[in-house]
Assembly symmetry: D2
Homo-oligomer: 337 residues x 4
Amino acid sequence: MKVYEIQEKFGLDSLAIVERPEPSAGPGQALVKLRAASLNYRDLMTVKGLYNPKQPLPLVPLSDGAGEVVSVGKGVTRVKPGDRVAPIFSQKWIAGEPARTKLSASLGGPLDGVLREFAVFDEDGLVHIPAHLSYEEAATLPCAAVTAWNSLITLGKLKSGDTVLVQGTGGVSIFALQFAVMAGARVIVTSSSDGKIERAIKLGASDGINYKAIPNWDKRARELTAGLGLDYIVEVGGAGTLEKSLRAARVGGYVGLIGVLAGSSKELSILPVLMQNLRIQGVLVGSREMFEEMNRAIAFAQLKPVVDRVFPFEEARQALEWMEAGSHFGKIVIRIP
Amino acid sequence: MKVYEIQEKFGLDSLAIVERPEPSAGPGQALVKLRAASLNYRDLMTVKGLYNPKQPLPLVPLSDGAGEVVSVGKGVTRVKPGDRVAPIFSQKWIAGEPARTKLSASLGGPLDGVLREFAVFDEDGLVHIPAHLSYEEAATLPCAAVTAWNSLITLGKLKSGDTVLVQGTGGVSIFALQFAVMAGARVIVTSSSDGKIERAIKLGASDGINYKAIPNWDKRARELTAGLGLDYIVEVGGAGTLEKSLRAARVGGYVGLIGVLAGSSKELSILPVLMQNLRIQGVLVGSREMFEEMNRAIAFAQLKPVVDRVFPFEEARQALEWMEAGSHFGKIVIRIP
Amino acid sequence: MKVYEIQEKFGLDSLAIVERPEPSAGPGQALVKLRAASLNYRDLMTVKGLYNPKQPLPLVPLSDGAGEVVSVGKGVTRVKPGDRVAPIFSQKWIAGEPARTKLSASLGGPLDGVLREFAVFDEDGLVHIPAHLSYEEAATLPCAAVTAWNSLITLGKLKSGDTVLVQGTGGVSIFALQFAVMAGARVIVTSSSDGKIERAIKLGASDGINYKAIPNWDKRARELTAGLGLDYIVEVGGAGTLEKSLRAARVGGYVGLIGVLAGSSKELSILPVLMQNLRIQGVLVGSREMFEEMNRAIAFAQLKPVVDRVFPFEEARQALEWMEAGSHFGKIVIRIP
Amino acid sequence: MKVYEIQEKFGLDSLAIVERPEPSAGPGQALVKLRAASLNYRDLMTVKGLYNPKQPLPLVPLSDGAGEVVSVGKGVTRVKPGDRVAPIFSQKWIAGEPARTKLSASLGGPLDGVLREFAVFDEDGLVHIPAHLSYEEAATLPCAAVTAWNSLITLGKLKSGDTVLVQGTGGVSIFALQFAVMAGARVIVTSSSDGKIERAIKLGASDGINYKAIPNWDKRARELTAGLGLDYIVEVGGAGTLEKSLRAARVGGYVGLIGVLAGSSKELSILPVLMQNLRIQGVLVGSREMFEEMNRAIAFAQLKPVVDRVFPFEEARQALEWMEAGSHFGKIVIRIP
C-alpha cells in the first residue's frame, strides 16, 4: 500500500510516497481503508520539524482522516466491515477529563498518521461518521471540529443568546462559528478579508470585523456587545492576539486558547484576567465521547463542514503549502485513492 | 384604577373588577402601567382555591404581565419612565440558586398579581422585555418561559444534538420546544391531537406522538431514539405520566418535573430512577438573571411566543375557563386597557 | 481452583463450592488471585433470584473483591504481577457519564463475580487499591464506596459546611458518612439503634436521630438545620422512606436514590419535588475514574472502611444470612483462601 | 466619630484621623459600629495611589471589617441591632456570576471603606459573622477568605484527595490552605522561610518547598505529586511566578490567578496552557452568597483565621508598613475603638 512518510529529516522536501505491506487487524482492532485526510496547522509544523523536533522518523503525517472498515480482529464489537469511520486524534482519550496518559498517543506524531491507504486502529479509537457527509467532509472533523466542540460546548457550556468572537476563518474558527450558530449564539468574526467576512456571515455570523481596517478590533467587538464584552473568545492567534482578546471579553468571560499558533512567547499583561474574572482555557482537541456527541449534533443539523479545497493524494506537499499561504477558508483536504 | 380581585371566597364567581386608588412609587420602586397579562395553570388553581387554600383574600390574581414604566421613586437606576418591562414571578429571586427566602414573594399569591391597570414593583423585581415583542407576547414570559429555560438550559445544560420530549402543547411545553429547537436539539412532542402535533412540527419539532393513538408513547419515544431513550423529558403531566417518562428517558437522563399538575399522589415505581441513573428535577420558575439571559436569547433569535388567544380585560373569567377546557396551544393572554 | 456457584436454581441452598480449572490471562488481561470479597444487598437479592430472575445459572456470586495480580497477558501496561488490585463493578464504565453499554457488564451478574480463588479481568477493569488497606478492607470499596462517592462528590459536588443526612448504617451509608466528614460537611445519621448512632458519631457524624423513638425524623432533621432542611439526603430506604426524605430536604436540595431496596412501588406525592426545586438522583455505582480519585482521597486521609465482620470462605451462606438479619454496621467481608 | 482619610493626595503621609458626623441609617440600611478592620495588599496600593490613581480623595481606606449593628432603617429585615456583621467587598455582588454592575461598588475605593468608627450599609451588603470568631478574626474574612473560597470551592470545585499548591503565607494563601485542608485536599506550600513552612504544616499542609533553597519549585512540586503535577495552584505572585505555576500544574489543571501583585506585565509563554489543557482563572473576591456559605463552613469547622498581628487604631500607618515589609503570616488587623 502507498504511504506518505516524513523521511530521515524534517522538511517539506522529506515528504515521500513509499510502499509498505498492508497491515492486518489483531484482536480488538480494525483495518481501515482511508479515503481522505485533512490538514491542521500542527501537521505543517510537524513536517517542518517545528512541533516536536525529537519525533523519531520516518513518520506518517496527518492526524485527521476518514475511511471504511475493511476487516476486524477477534472480539471487535464497536465496528464491522463496511462501517464508515474516523480515527480519534488522541487514541487513548475515550471519555472523561484529559490526563497525560490519555493525551500521549496522538496520530500524526508520535503515532503514525493517516496519510496512507490503510491503517489499523483499536476499535476504541474509532467513531462512526455522520451519514450525510462524504469522506472528504468527515476527514475534517477529528481535530478541528472536536476542538471547537470541546472549547465551546463541553468546557464552555455555550447557550443560546451568548456572544462568541471567532478569530479568522481557519478550520477551528469556522467549526466554532457553525457550532455557535447551531446553538443559537451570536457570532462575531474577525478577518483581514472582507470577502471572508462575507462568507462567514453567510454561514450565520452576525457581524464581522476587518482587523486590517480596524486594528482595535477588541474595542469594536465591545461596542458590538453594547460595551459589555464577549462571553466567549475563540483565540487561535496565540500570543499575538491574546491581549486584545482579554480586553474584548466580558467580566467573567471565557477565552479558549487553541492551536499551536499560540505557542510563542510574548510580553503579556495578565491584569485583565484578574480584574475581569476571566477564564483562559487551554484546549487540545477532546475525547471520543465528545466526538460522538458532536457527530450526533452534526447529523441532526445536517451541518456541512466547510472544505476549502481538495487535493489529490500526490499533491500532499502542495496542500501543505496551500495551508502555509494562509488564504484558505475552512479545511484543506487530501483525497486518498 | 381598575383591579381584578378574588373576593371573600375562592371560585370563578368571586372574580370581580373593582376600583382602587392608583399607587405611587416609593424609594427604589417603579410604577408600571400594565398592558397585558397571561395565564398559567397555577392561576386557575389559585382562583379556585386549590393552590393555596390559606391564601388571604382579596387577592389580585395572575402572576405574569408586561407593561410600561410610568414613574420611578428615589434612587432607581435599573429602569426609567417609558421602559417596557415585565415583573419577575418570585420578586426576591434575583440570582443564584433557589432558597426559601427567595421563593416566598411570588406574584398572584401570596402577593397581589398583575390583573390590574397599575402596579408598583421594586426596581430589582423588573426586567426589560425584548424589543420585537408586543406587550401581549411579552406577558407570556415570566412563568412559562423562564421555567422552560431554567429546566432545559440552566439546570439541564441542553446542547445541540440532544433529544428532548415535551408533553403536550401548553405554555411551558411550547416554550421548551422553541428553546430546544433554538439550541439545536431534537424535539419529540406528545399530544392527543394530530393537528397540534402538526403545529408543533411547524415550530421545529422533529416528531410527534399522538398518545391517544399510541398509549405506550414511552416505547414509541425510545424507538425514535434508536432504543437509547431521551436525554430530556419535560414532564408536565405529573403523577399521571411520570412513570412513562421515567421509562422513556435514557440511562443518565433528565426528567424536569414542572407545573402544579404534578401535585397529585400516585403509586410510583422508582426502580427506573435508580437502575437508569435518572435525575428527576423539580423546577419552579427561576431567577431574574435567568429571565434576562433568556430575553437576550429570545431577542437575538427574534423568537415569538405562541399566543393561543387574547381576551379583553372584561373576559378574565372566560380566559380562565378557556384554560380549563384545555384545548389551547401556547399561551392565553388578557389585554389590559 | 475453588469457586462458589449459584447452581441450577436460585436460593441460599443452591450456593456451593465447586472446582474449576484455573484460568489464564489473554492479551490485555490480568489473572488475579482474589483474597477477599464483600457483600452488597444486591448480592443477597441475586442469590435469592430477586434481582434479575432471568440471570442464567450457574453464576459466581458477589461483585466486590480485592486481590493480587498473578500474571498478565500480552500488551498489558496498567498492572503487573504483585500489584494489589480490585475489579470495578461495571467492567466497561471506565470514565465519563453512564450509558447502557457501560453498565451492561457488571460482576456478580450478568458476569461471574469474585467469590472464587482466581479470576481474569481486562486490565482496564482493574484499579490499584490504597496501600494502607488490607485486602479485607479494600474488598469493601467497588460498589458501596464508589456509589457513595459518585452520589455525594461526583454528582453532588458536596462542599465543606453542607449538611448531609445518611439513612442507617449499612455499607453505602457509612461510606457516605465518612466521605462527607472528610469533605468538611455536617452529617446527621438516622438509625433504629442508639448504639449504632453512637458509633456513627464516633466516625464524625454531628447528630443522630433514632427513627424508632422519633418517627417524624424528617421534622427533627429540619429542626437540626434551623428549619432550612438538608442539602443532601443519602436515600437507601427506597419507597418506604422517600417521602420523608423529600420533606427533610431544603429548597433546591439533592436526594441521592441508592440501592436495590429502593425498588418497590409506593404511593408517592411528588409535590415537594416540584415546590422545593428538589433533585432526585438515581445512583448506580460509578466509573473507574471515580474509583481512582476516591482511592486517592482514601489514601491521603488514611481512611479505613468499617468492616462489620469477616467470614471464612466456607461460610458465605452465613455471611449472606448475616446481611439479611440487618444488624450489621458497615461492610460484611468474606476471606478467600 | 473618628474616621481615617487618605487626604488630598496619595501616600502614607496623607493618612489622617479626622472627625466626621455620625451617619444614620436610611430605609433598607443599617448603621454599624465597626470594631476591627483588616488589611489587604490592595489597601496598601490604594493608599500609595498605585491601585486606581483616578480615585477621588478624600477616601476612607480599607475594605474589610466587622462590627455590630447599632440601628436599622425602615423595612430592614436581614439584620437587627446587636447583630455581629461584616460588610461584603463588592456591595452589589449578592449572588450569581460576576458582572460589571456587580463589581463597581467595592469598599475602600471607589466607596469609602471601613477604617472608621461607624458606617452605614445597605442591609443587602452585610453578612452575619460566625459566632466563635472575635471581631478581629471576623474582620479578616471579606476579601482574603472569600477570594480563597471562590477560587477553590465555587469556581474550582475542589474535592477530597485533590492536590493544591499555595504560594507564600499571605492572607489569601493561608485561607486557601485552611479551606483545602478542611475539604480533605493535600496542600503544598511554597515560602522563602523554613519557619513559615513549619507553621503552614502545623495548619495542615502536607509539604513545604523553600523556593530560596529550591528555585525550581515547580519541578519539586511535580515530584511531590509523582510527576503528575498539581490539580490546583493558588497563584498570588503574578507575572513573576505564573510561568512556573503553569509548569507545576497537571494536565487539565487549574491555576487561580489572585491578587493585585499579579498586575505587572511579563514575557510569558502560553504554550503550557494549551498543551496541558490548563485553566487560568482570574478571581476577584466573590458574592455575598459565597461569603455566607463560607461562613457556614467556618462555623461548622470552628476554623480560626490566622491573625498575624493586631494594631491599635492609631497605628494604621504602622500596620500598612508592616504589610509592606512582607514578613507577616496570615492577616494584619487594626482594632477600632
